[in-house]
Symmetry: C2
Subunit: 198 residues, 2 copies
């Protein structure tokens, strides 16, 4: 380029990425209480999408982000909001890369989820509510968090000492107290097929 720089302006249209991938890009945002089965269902769905459809996916959940990108954040209301803000921004980047972006976070505040939705075009963000009674989540308690919260060892624990605001108009509700993990994943898949995502 020598003396003069002619900036190379480039933009890969999403439609080009989708044609290469053979499927649409979409953010699938799983929200629900701790122990409701969000990560397990999203994980099962990702396995099906990759193995059965050779799809291009990525998976974002608390375990992967809180140990990396968001490891400077705690669980106060302000830090939860910043946590979800960053997750939404990363989901947007993944979406723009053409991926089926599976996101599994408690994400208790409706306002934070709406901000994440607004980062991608209309219809490209599906809020999926993993609806499970807290009594059942507490009995499952896979990470022993309810037990520790009950002992006062965890401040601001969603459903116990911090609020969970259920989605008012989710794209999909999964009843993980009535269906198994793979059944719930297949319910999402069915909706994706109905909508021509795959």
């Amino acid at each position: 380029m020598a003396e003069n720089l002619t900036p190379f302006s480039h933009h890969i249209p999403l439609a080009v990425r989708e044609r290469i991938n053979g499927h649409k890009a979409l953010v699938l945002w799983f929200t629900g209480l701790s122990g409701s089965g969000k990560s397990s269902i999203a994980g099962a769905l990702e396995s099906i999408l990759v193995e059965r459809y050779q799809a291009h996916t990525c998976f974002l959940d608390g375990d992967s982000l809180r140990s990396g990108l968001n490891r400077d954040l705690g669980f106060s209301d302000a830090d939860r909001t910043e946590n979800i803000r960053r997750v939404g921004e990363v989901a947007r980047l993944m979406f723009e890369a053409g991926l089926l972006t599976l996101v599994a976070f408690i994400s208790p505040f409706a306002r934070d989820r709406e901000r994440a939705r607004a980062l991608v075009p209309p219809g490209r963000f599906w809020e999926i509510y993993v609806d499970c009674p807290i009594e059942i989540c507490q009995r499952r308690d896979p990470k022993q968090l309810y037990r520790r919260a009950g002992q006062g060892a965890i401040a601001d624990f969603t459903g116990i000492s911090s609020v969970y605001e259920p989605p008012l108009h989710p794209q999909l509700v999964l009843h993980s107290d009535q269906f198994g993990i793979v059944e719930c994943a297949e319910q999402v898949l069915a909706r994706m097929l109905e909508n021509g995502v795959l």
Copy 2:
């Protein structure tokens, strides 16, 4: 899943994603002064990768991240370090999704670049030094930043009032004062082909 939750543990091996994509995953980290041509070269390379190879890519640069994920950060040394920390973490997530991840940031501090490198497996992070004399960058000044920095309007401007630490052992050096943007992009592509990335 009813009462008992059997967490669905899933992990999509990178090799599976690479087989579906038809190419390896890699982080291509372009570093250099403002005006050296980092974003333009990375952008040209992305266009070639998508158009000629139908590759699966993503592109991270200052303009896209500072308006979103990193919009809470300024240009102090501490904020630059946090900026690059987050970029490195996002690049890791993109890499794990199997993408050819093109990153174009000044990223002036060697220590910050090394931290980003350490997030992906050995050999999967290529530091690409866009080497261009500052006098030429200043004459190009595509964003009028050198002019404003010279007037004292920008504190901590790399190369003027803040240090740039060149890579000591970059995978590749591009001389953007001697070659055009697309020529530089083709030099990176040639190296990718030599190494069996594509």
